[in-house]
Amino acid sequence: MPAPLYITGVAETALGEVAGENELSMVAKATREALAEAGLKRKDIDGLFVNYMGEEGSVQVAEYLGIQPRFSDSSDLGGAAFEAQVHHAIAAIQAGFCEVALIAYASRQRSRRARSLSGGAPAMGVPIMHQLEVPYGLPSPIGRYALIAARHMHQYGTTRAQLAEIAVAARLWAQKNPKAWSRDPLTIEDCLNARPISEPLHRNDICLVTDGGGACIVTTAERARDAAKKPIRILGAAESHTHWHISQMKDLTVSAAAKSGPEAFAMAGITPGDVDILQPYDSFTITVLLALEDLGFCKKGEGGAFVESGALRPGGKLPSMTSGGGLSYNHPGALGLMLLIEAVRQLRGEAGDRQVPDAKIGVAHGVGGLLSTAGTVILARE
């Protein structure tokens, strides 16, 4: 990457079940906190990147914030949108199209009771999925992830207990995070005995449904000098996507991370072995397993054995989901922004009880859609 860029401010919105707020007020408050960390003012924001903030989301958010961006992006890459938007922000800032990029998101999906497993009827677009998949009662999105998990188990001998280890590791981290939604003890046995939803995925293989969101400021080295907190350098970023319909995914055991990972690591000039902390998108336990393999932390098919070693847990060789992740901390419909926030806090050394000692290099890896999209961002403390 030619000129270094930095994340200079991050903030979560209110989390859990958020009363007395709407999504825009949540974004506005998080933005003010992130700007304070960055030492910047609201009117300094000239690039705006949002997802799932309604029709023409960036237009709505800009009006609410009272800003007029000269670069605007409401790309919908599902939960990976925010890592992809770091990638987009790099392109926009390097091209001179903006200088201070705000990436923001909030959802009250829990309070609104907005989640449904049915997949529903599409409001717009071509209804191929509605005619070819919805009538079979394949739960959305869980059923698609279940088909992927079943294939991985068949092909590589991955076990339910190995998937459960991912949920247990997330819970052990959540117990160190006072903001985490689920902090009760959780064992592998608990996971194995949990209610089946779409086999082989059971209740504890599936992320939370909570309210939440956040804000993140990306800017140049020059503007980073104003920051009140330690700026975190962006070493690399990349994105990709493989399919929309699960029938069109070429290989159920290989995600888009197999493209975004190597590209981000090449840009960063480092290897997976250099990474101190990983924030993988844990929408489902299988999502993490594929990310570990496709990003190159272990070989294809060896994800089960890798997690079984306790690598992801506190004290493990690859501390992962250190906030408690989407499985135990918070999952506001799209977790990608929270992964960036947690990575930045770990690299600044301000993660409290869950701080990974001397974390210098971190990866936030977003995954979205029906295991369709991937965005990989590599960050470093200088």
């Binding site: 071509v126 070819l132 009538p135 739960p139 088909l147 086999e199």
Partner: protein, 129 residues
Amino acid sequence: MSDRMQIDDPVLWPYWEAAQRRSLIVQRCQACGHHQHYPRPFCLECDADTLEWVETKGQGTVHSVTTVHVQLLPELKPPYQVALIDLDEGPRLVTGIDGTPCTIGDRVTVTWREREGLPPLPNFTKAAP
């Protein structure tokens, strides 16, 4: 309701017209012989635009399968199975499993699930050994 399906997706409609005759069809490229599903105006393999609809043998192999334990549709009482099937002609499709539960690698044959006011829905059932 069938009219609605045709209006919503005229490109896919021949598939449902064939379903009304209990025929499972997919696109075949006249240039390179590649079969594909769902339909597109070009061949994903060779880019030719000379595609025809051809009848499949209605046979395939289970590539992956999930057993669903939640009720999403009034007509589907859990537990039931949804699978990805690799047709012998090549294309992979999402389908429902009727009858005996299947596992990955099982050979399956098409059956038809009747629907009120809609074309029958292709499902698959474990093939006789």
